[in-house]
Amino acid sequence: MADAVLRSLARWYSVPLVLAVWELLARTGAVSRRLMPSLVEIALAVWDAIASGDLLFHAGISLGRAFAGYALAIIFGILLGVAMARSRAFDALFEPIFSFGYPVPKIALYPIFIFVFGFGNLSKVMMIFLECLYPITVNAFYGMRGIDRVHVWAAHNMGASERQIFWRVLLPGAAPAIFAGLRIALPISLIVVIITEMIGESRGLGYFISYASASFEYSTAFAGVAAVAVIGFTLDRALVWLRNRLIFWERGAAFIGAA
């Protein structure tokens, strides 16, 4: 027991170390207290924001938007990626859009999205959808393309139908790449929801943080940042857990901090 505690302390020592340095800077007044609130003050602000219901309200709104856009991107991204990998016509039609559009910051289109879809949820959901669509589609495409032909031939040889080959060979073969795309897109959905809420909105965590910051309540702003951090970390872990459940035959999704 004591051994296990010591070992996990040895593994994670840098996190408490950084927090201790933060606390020290805040307490000694080396940095202005107002700009760098102590951890206790931030914890109290988190508690206040939870108790008043503000934090959960704004977090719920941000999560709803992020999930809606992410889910749409998953559906259309996988469909498009698979269709592009299976049909030359689809590939020729869409490949330029994806290879040229990939490095372009699509967030620049957000003002147009506001005009087209309005100021509310829809413009944000569509922006998240567009940004997440790219990595999901491209990864699904390369996953389907990267499947060893020998597996397909072997299945053919053993009398599998086209349908069986798709569900039993192609889709499982592409699944690790598809999940890699999902993992890239997940933080993107959070980035986009936060940015769009910071730009023009009166609800959501992005608004919560920029409002608290603009009214000089920095411990409340840090409480919002902490909430985003917890959400991002938890969702990422949940996705890795799900992946390891579904793709039980191949490990190694957690490219960092894999315990």
Binding site: A10, R11, Y13, S14, V15, L35, R86, R88, A89, A92, L93, E95, P96, I97, S99, F100, Y102, P103, V104, P105, I107, A108, Y110, P111, I112, I114, V138, Y142, R149, V152, H156, I165, L186, P187, L190, I191, I194, I195, M198, I199, L205, G206, I209, S210, A212, A214, F216, Y218, A221, F222, V225, V228, A229, G232, F233, L235, D236, F255, I256, G257
Partner: protein
């Protein structure tokens, strides 16, 4: 799998690839000219003319230069720190031990959330934007450099040591070249992020730059300016990526390791 159809010829493939964008542009142009569409859908020909006018007047350059300064500033600092720390962590266990918990906890957190706080700390000028871009670029470059250095075949390192190479030589001649493909992958992801964060930061709070130009043009309903700025951002993002791909091809010429496709 389908029976192998005859592959499309290059010309036919290119024609199909242009079909969707061209059809969309034509529909847009025609409906903007002859139909009743909302104000913000001004005709592509007018957008091009406005863009050209702004190029000539120098206004577009000014904002582009401001955006590039921020993006490249943050990219240079974040990328240099990420690659250096990542390689160091890849070869030195204590360094990896220090970074691993911090990076794995904060990696899935969108860095843009700290922008309002950075603005309070550093002011609303270039410094806060460069700081948030630096943070965003650091993560992918660090992680890729770390795994590049860790993934170097031990046999190469042992052989080099055996033949009497000093530790510094091993690093420069073995570890650095062998991890280069993955380091460059990280730098490519980082560049795309640098542009996204630049535009996002400028949209949110700025007095100059292409993101500001978009927001300002939108507020004053100058849609031609808005589209011109969007085009400039697209061109920069695309051109930056192409430059990195070309650099990568040069740097890895002759190397058989890590030949991935065009997508990072």
């Amino acid at each position: 799998m389908k029976a192998a159809a005859a592959p499309f010829s290059r010309g036919r493939r290119a024609a199909l690839g242009l079909a969707l964008p061209l059809a969309a542009l034509a529909a847009w142009e025609l409906s903007a000219r002859y139909g009743t569409v909302p104000d913000y859908l001004i005709a592509p020909s007018r957008i091009l003319a406005a863009t050209w006018e702004m190029v000539l007047s120098g206004e577009l350059w000014r904002h582009t230069a401001d955006s590039l300064l921020r993006a490249i500033g943050g990219y240079a600092i974040g990328g240099a720190a990420g690659v250096a720390m990542g390689l160091l962590a890849g070869i030195a266990r204590p360094v990896e031990r220090f970074y691993d918990p911090i990076v794995s906890l904060t990696y899935p957190v969108p860095k843009i959330v700290v922008l309002p706080i950075l603005i309070a700390w550093l002011g609303a000028g270039d410094a806060s934007k460069i700081a948030v871009i630096t943070a965003a670029v650091f993560y992918p470059t660090f992680i890729n450099a770390l795994y590049g250095a860790k993934g170097v075949n031990r046999l190469f390192v042992w052989s080099a040591r055996n033949m009497g190479a000093a530790p510094l030589q091993v690093f420069a001649k073995v570890i650095l070249p062998a991890s280069l493909p993955q380091v460059l992958t990280g730098l490519r992801i980082g560049l795309a992020l640098a542009f996204i964060v630049t535009v996002a930061a400028e949209l949110q709070n700025s007095r100059s730059g292409l993101g500001y130009l978009i927001a300002d043009a939108e507020n004053s309903l100058r849609f031609d300016l808005m589209y011109a700025a969007i085009i400039a951002i697209g061109v920069i993002g695309f051109a930056g990526d192409r430059v990195l791909v070309a650099l990568r091809r040069r740097a890895l010429a002759g190397q058989t390791l890590g030949k991935e496709g065009a997508h990072g």
